[in-house]
Symmetry: C2
Subunit: 418 residues, 2 copies
C-alpha cells in the first residue's frame, strides 16, 4: 500500500531539520560548552521547550505541559482521536545534538509537512521529560510517570537531583509544575490511536549494512542496579597487602566477570559499569567502600536477566572470598517490548515507497516508547549515527536521513488514517 501523500521536497525538510538541530546546540540550550548537557528544570531545558512551543503554535497546535513538564501539542480538541509523534529533548550529561532532540525535531517536521501539504492529519506531538536521567538519575522518568510506573513516595522522596540532592518533587514545584497532580499525566495518551518515535540508532548496524532507515519491531529490556562493596578503610602505605580488605579488587573482578558473562550469553546481551564511586576516594587511603552501577540489557528477557542474576551472585562470592561483603540493589527493570505489527507494516510500506534502503531491527537502547507501547499501538524509526557513537559530543547524524524518516512517518500515519 503506497502512502497517499504528495511528493515531499526532502531537501527542504532536511534544511529545516538541520536548522532546528543547529539552533538547539547553541549556548542557550546547553549547560556545558563542550557537550550538550540539558535536563529537567534548568533554564536551558526551559528554552528548549519554548523553542518547540513557538514552532508548534505557528502551525496552529495547542501546546500544554503535563503536571511535571512533559510537553504535549495537538491540532485537535481534547476527546478527538490523534496520532502521536515525538521523543525527548533532554540529553545525557556529556551528550551530543541528536539523541532525543532529533526525534522531536523530526516529529515537528511531520507536523509541518502535514500542514503545508494540507493533509491536516490529526496529530499530537509529545516531548517526554527526563528520558536520560541526567537530572535525577532516573531513566524514562517522564514516560514512567505518565504510565504510573513510579510511586508518589519516589517522586516526593527517593528521586533526588544529582546536582543538589533535593527531591524531584521540590524541583518540579520550584519550576512551576504541580507534581501533586502527576497521576493525571496519563490522560495525554487517552486520544492516541497510535505512536511513532523517531530516534538515532545509537549503534552501527544501519551504517554497517548501508541502510538509511531502521524499523524497530522490539526494544531490548534492561536491569539497572548498583553493587555496594564494603571493605575496610586503612592507610595505603602502612597496611601490608595481606591485611587489606580493599573493595576496589572486588570491583575489578566484577567488571571483568560482567564482560565475560555478557559475551558468553550472547543473543544481543550487553553489560556496562558506567558509575564508580570510591569512599573516601583519596590517593593514600585504601577504600572503605565502593559503589558501582550495572546496566544490563538485551532483546531476550531470560538472557539479560540471567546475566544480572549471575553477576549479583558473583559479586557476593568474590567479596566473601576476600572477607568483604557485596550487596546487589536493583534500581529498576523493564522487560523487552514487542512493538505493534500493524504500525511497523505501515512504516514498511511507506519506506518501500521511497525507494531508499531500510531494514527491520531491534533496539538495544531503551526509549520512552517502551512505556507508551503499554497503552498505545507503537513503533519506532531509526536513522544511522556515525560509527554508532552516542551519548557523547562526537555524536553525528544526517538531517537528510531524518527528512526521509519524516516522510515515511507521514506516509504511514496517512495510510493508517485511511
Amino acid at each position: 500500500m503506497a502512502a497517499p501523500v504528495p511528493p515531499i521536497d526532502r531537501e527542504r525538510s532536511a534544511a529545516r531539520i538541520e536548522r532546528d538541530i543547529e539552533t538547539l546546540a547553541g549556548p542557550e540550550f546547553t549547560v556545558s560548552s563542550e557537550a550538550i548537557r540539558r535536563y529537567a528544570y534548568t533554564p536551558v531545558y526551559r528554552n528548549t521547550l519554548d523553542y518547540f512551543t513557538r514552532a508548534l503554535q505557528e502551525l496552529g497546535f495547542t501546546v500544554t505541559e503535563d503536571p511535571v513538564g512533559t510537553l504535549i501539542a495537538r491540532n485537535r480538541p481534547p476527546g478527538e482521536p490523534v496520532f502521536g509523534v515525538g521523543s525527548h529533548c533532554d540529553s545525557n550529561r556529556n551528550g551530543g545534538r541528536y539523541d532525543g532532540t532529533m526525534g522531536v525535531v523530526t516529529a515537528l517536521e511531520v507536523c509541518r509537512l502535514s500542514a503545508e501539504h494540507s493533509l491536516d492529519l490529526p496529530l499530537q506531538l509529545i516531548s517526554f521529560l527526563e528520558e536520560e536521567g541526567s537530572g535525577f538519575g532516573q531513566m524514562l522518568l517522564g514516560s514512567r510517570i505518565m504510565l504510573q510506573r513510579v510511586t508518589e513516595q519516589e517522586l516526593r522522596e527517593s528521586f533526588r537531583a544529582i546536582d543538589d540532592g533535593r527531591s524531584f518533587w521540590e524541583h518540579a514545584e520550584e519550576a512551576g509544575y504541580e507534581p501533586a497532580r502527576w497521576q493525571e499525566s496519563i490522560h495525554a495518551l487517552d486520544d492516541l490511536t497510535g505512536w511513532i518515535e523517531m530516534h538515532i540508532e545509537q549503534a552501527r548496524v544501519l551504517q554497517d549494512t548501508g541502510n538509511r532507515i531502521g524499523l524497530v519491531h522490539t526494544i531490548a529490556g534492561y536491569v539497572h542496579a548498583d553493587v555496594l562493596v564494603t571493605g575496610r578503610g586503612d592507610h595505603a602505605g602502612a597496611t601490608p597487602m595481606d591485611l587489606r580488605l580493599d573493595p576496589t579488587t572486588v570491583l575489578a573482578e566484577c567488571v571483568l566477570e560482567l564482560e565475560r558473562l555478557a559475551r558468553a550469553t550472547g543473543q544481543g546481551t550487553v553489560g556496562t559499569v558506567g558509575e564508580i564511586e570510591v569512599d573516601p576516594g583519596i590517593i593514600n587511603a585504601i577504600a572503605a567502600g565502593v559503589r558501582f552501577s550495572l546496566d544490563i540489557r538485551g532483546p531476550v528477557d531470560d538472557a539479560y536477566r540471567g546475566v544480572a542474576d549471575e553477576i549479583a551472585a558473583f559479586a557476593e562470592r568474590a567479596a566473601a572470598a576476600r572477607g568483604m561483603t557485596a550487596q546487589f540493589r536493583q534500581r529498576q527493570t523493564l522487560p523487552a517490548t514487542p512493538l505493534d505489527e500493524r504500525i511497523v507494516d505501515a512504516l514498511d510500506a511507506a519506506a518501500a515507497a521511497t525507494g531508499e534502503p531500510y531494514m527491520r531491527m531491534h533496539s538495544g537502547a531503551a526509549h520512552d516508547t517502551m512505556c507508551v507501547a503499554d497503552r498505545v499501538p507503537s513503533a519506532m524509526v531509526f536513522v544511522p549515527c556515525v560509527d554508532g557513537i552516542s551519548h557523547h559530543p562526537a555524536e553525528d547524524a544526517d538531517s537528510a536521513d531524518a527528512a526521509l524518516a519524516a516522510e515515511i512517518i507521514l506516509g504511514a500515519i496517512a495510510a493508517l488514517q485511511g
Copy 2:
C-alpha cells in the same frame, strides 16, 4: 645511658593528652560530624592552630606561623639551638582523631613536662601544614615547601583546592599568609639540633607483637601517580560487546595486576588504587575515560619503584590490547629515608629506662620527618593504633601509650643535651 629526668606522672600526662585529643575532636575542629575532616585554611583548621597557640603561650613559648601557615613555637630566641618536636594537625577527609594530631599533642606534653619539671630544655614545636593532602591533593605539602621541594609555579598554578579548584596561592593569601615568601619557610630548621616526631603506627605490627612503642629507623619511600585510560564513550545499551572501547576494563585489569605485583615483590612493598574517576560516570553510558591514582610504597627503593615501572608498562599494554591508550603520570616520589642512629639510640636508652615493651621498626607510611631528615638529625616514635586502622573515623589509640612516648622523647632530648 639512663635519661637524666625525674620520675614522670604518666597518668597525669595521659589525662592531659586525652583531654587535648577529646577537645580537638569536637565540632569546632572538624568540617564533618561523621569523621575528623580538617585541612588548611578552613575555619576548623584555624581553630586547631589557635588551640595549640594558646597552650604553648601559657608555657612561655613564642608562637609564629611560617609564610604559608606551618606553626612554629619555641622557648629560646632565634639563633639559639633548639631541639624539634611535633607533627601535623590536619587530617584526611574521612579521618580519625589521632593521625598527626596525637603527635602534636604529645609534643605539647613534652613541652609541658620540660616546664613543670624545671628541665627548661631548649625546644621548638612544629605543626606542619597539609600533611595529608586533603586540601590540595598534595601530601607533605608544608614540609615540602619548607625543604624547597616544590616550585613556585606549582604553588601559584598547579596545586589547586579539591573543593573549588582555586590555586594554593590564592587560598593562602586569602587566609592572610604571604606565599610569595614561601622560600623563607626553611629558616624554621636553622637552629634545630635534632627532631623527633611521634605518630600513631597506622599498621598492626606493634599490636600484634605486644609492644607499646616503636622506634623508627627508616621511613618507606613512595611513588604517587595517576593512570589515564582513554576509551570511547558510547551508548551502554546499543553498543554490542565486540564494538566497545570500555576503559573500565583496563582499570579492572590494572587493579588486579597491581595487587599481584606488590605481593610478588614483597620486601614490604604495597600498592593501592584509592581514587577512581569515570568520565562521564552515568549508568547508561560506556565511559569515555577513566583516571585512577596509584600509591606504591616500601622501605626498599628498588622494590617499590620496580612495581611502579611494571604497572605503568602493564597499563599501556593492557589498554593497547583492547585498542585503547593509557598514560602513566607521576605526581611525586620520595626515596626511603634512613633516620639518625644517634637519636634512635638515645630513644632506645630512654625507652629501656621505662621498663615498657618497645621495638625498632620501619614506617610504611610517609611522614613530614622524611623532609626534615634531609637537614636535621631525625627520628620517629610510634604508638599502636587498634587493629592498625587509620585514615578512618574508627581510628583509635591509647593516651597512656602517648604519655609513655612523651616521657621517652623527653628523656632522649635531655640525654642528647647532656
